[in-house]
């Protein structure tokens, strides 16, 4: 199953990294503390730390840490220079005590003093045996930086973890303790972004029966090779982004409910009798596609959305019926008892891909998407294989 997904997922990742720059509203702070508004290139996180591509009045220029004090986006993110050598660092809190981050390393700045917080595992001999333990020198640095205002700073260190949330809280507490103002750039909130929405659509599903085992050929004369159903669907959508990694690439999980019924009629002659068969399938499905989502900006309010991943179908209803009548030469009709056509699996796996466009209206993104799912574990019968191809056209509403 996954071999079908890998090329699509790889394409998405390559696209996410290679796509031409798009620009978001922002500003740069020059060394003379002048702020110039314009647009800043939207890049992968690592690139933000190296340079800033700034566009203003139609002019585009790349700035390095030595050129400017910092730059920021209107959504709150700010990258400062002068903290780490030859790199920008992301600002979390700027105040009496400031907190910055570059990859996994944090920085505390108080006045002109900048201290680096780095954790690592060091080899130690404990009770005659070699072991590794965390080097907690960074806690001593934090304790030292806050000791002139916070009570019992060493006591606070035992439960302190090197995380944005806890370090930001302590940094803010210090500024409040000093009665100084501070700016919170919201780094905690930006670690993970979850958006939810609803979808309403129409699904065309097509079940194909193939690879019929030679031994079963006669039993399958009553089955048509293809069954088609078109039905409405409704779903819940959740998009999870990890902006630290990428704001374009995320995870999309959906639950999509639909009901479908399929019917086919088959007649054929065998020896001296004519046979008539109706085949009927009735299925209720909760589909749970889990996909990688690539959100490609098409201007300030529009996006192109691409999905690829796996599909999980849980069947809430699964009925299959085969009716049979035979007519002999004297036109005597023999009606047989209805039987189960074949056993449909309660859980079905498959692959899933989709493409869509969305438009932002306030805090809601409205869009339309076309999705395709290929379900290849449809039945439990060993005499043949059945697969379900599903094409879904939906409108969706995502609350940002």
């Amino acid at each position: 199953m996954f071999k079908h997904c890998i090329p699509i997922l790889l394409s998405l990742v390559i696209l996410a990294n290679c796509y031409a720059l798009d620009f978001r509203n922002g500003y740069i702070v020059q060394n003379q503390n002048d702020t110039i508004r314009g647009q800043i290139a939207y890049q992968a996180y690592g690139k933000y730390l190296e340079s800033c591509i700034f566009k203003s009045n139609g002019m585009e220029r790349q700035y390095f840490p030595a050129d400017i004090d910092g730059y920021g986006f209107d959504d709150g993110r700010y990258f400062a220079s002068g903290i780490s050598k030859d790199k920008f660092v992301e600002a979390h809190i700027i105040g009496e005590l400031s907190l910055y981050q570059s990859d996994t390393t944090f920085f505390l700045k108080k006045g002109a003093e900048i201290r680096e917080l780095k954790t690592q595992l060091v080899a130690r001999e404990i009770d005659g045996r070699e072991g590794v333990m965390e080097d907690t020198k960074w806690k001593g640095i934090v304790s030292y930086m806050i000791s002139d205002c916070i009570q019992n700073p060493m006591g606070r260190m035992s439960s302190l973890k090197m995380q944005i949330k806890t370090l930001s809280k302590l940094t803010i507490e210090y500024s409040e303790c000093r009665g100084a103002s501070y700016v919170d750039y919201g780094g905690t909130e930006r670690r993970m972004k979850i958006d939810v929405g609803l979808t309403f659509g129409y699904t065309k599903s097509s079940i194909g029966i193939n690879n019929v085992n030679q031994l079963y050929k006669e039993s399958f004369l009553g089955f048509a090779e293809n069954y088609v159903s078109q039905d409405p669907s409704v779903g819940l959508m959740m998009q999870v982004f990890f902006p630290k990694f990428s704001e374009r690439l995320g995870l999309q999980i959906e639950t999509l409910y639909s009901r479908a019924s399929y019917q086919q009629f088959v007649s054929y002659g065998l020896v001296n009798d004519l046979y008539f068969h109706d085949t009927f399938l009735s299925i209720g499905t909760v589909s749970i596609p889990v996909t990688m989502l690539f959100d490609l900006p098409l201007g300030p309010k529009n996006s192109l959305l691409l999905n690829a991943g796996i599909n999980n179908d849980i069947l809430t209803k699964k009925e299959s019926l085969l009716t049979t009548e035979s007519v002999d030469e004297q036109n005597r009709v023999k009606v047989s008892e209805d039987t189960e056509m074949f056993e449909i699996r309660g859980y079905q796996g498959g692959v899933y891909s989709g493409i869509g466009i969305s438009h932002s209206i306030g805090s809601v993104d409205v869009g339309i998407s076309l999705r395709y799912a290929y379900i290849f574990q449809f039945d439990n019968d060993s005499g043949f294989t059945a697969a379900n191809n599903k094409l879904n056209l939906s409108i969706f509403f995502i609350y940002r």
Partner: protein, 138 residues
């Protein structure tokens, strides 16, 4: 808040969709009625009720309908010593039944089939088997 709202709305929509009437299988039109023999009911010392249902009635003119039963499986109108209950009428109802109160021997196993006749076809439903407890009139 928005997650809770969306989830609640989704559940309500699913419940509403699930609550719709189940799809009813409708047979594809053909030249003859599709007739099913249903299980025999009300089996007692007084007799037993035979039941049948048209799964597809079609436009055919029905000349007669009813039941055939015998102690051997798959009885037909031409099977020797088969009992027959027949009504000569162009029935329009989707099902029919009859309470048989004569000729059933207690302890005997009977095989019942519904039948219907049109100008061109004689249609027999599937075989239903039951053990008789007898009948009012032997």
């Amino acid at each position: 808040m928005k997650t809770t709202f969306s989830f609640t709305l989704f559940i309500l929509l699913i419940v509403a969709a699930s609550g719709c009437d189940d799809e009813v299988f409708e047979a594809t039109p053909r030249d003859f009625p599709r007739l099913l023999t249903r299980a025999v009911t009300e089996i007692s010392e007084k007799g037993a009720r035979f039941n049948a249902e048209f799964r597809y009635r079609g436009e055919s003119q029905i000349i007669s309908y009813g039941f055939v039963w015998n102690e051997t499986p798959f009885p037909t109108l031409r099977t020797p010593s088969t009992d027959i209950y027949a009504v000569d009428e162009n029935i329009q109802a989707e099902d029919f039944s009859v309470f048989i109160s004569a000729g059933l021997n207690p302890g005997s196993t009977y095989y019942v089939r519904a039948f219907t006749q049109t100008q061109e076809y004689t249609v027999y439903g599937s075989n239903q088997q039951f053990v008789s407890k007898g009948s009012e009139n032997q």
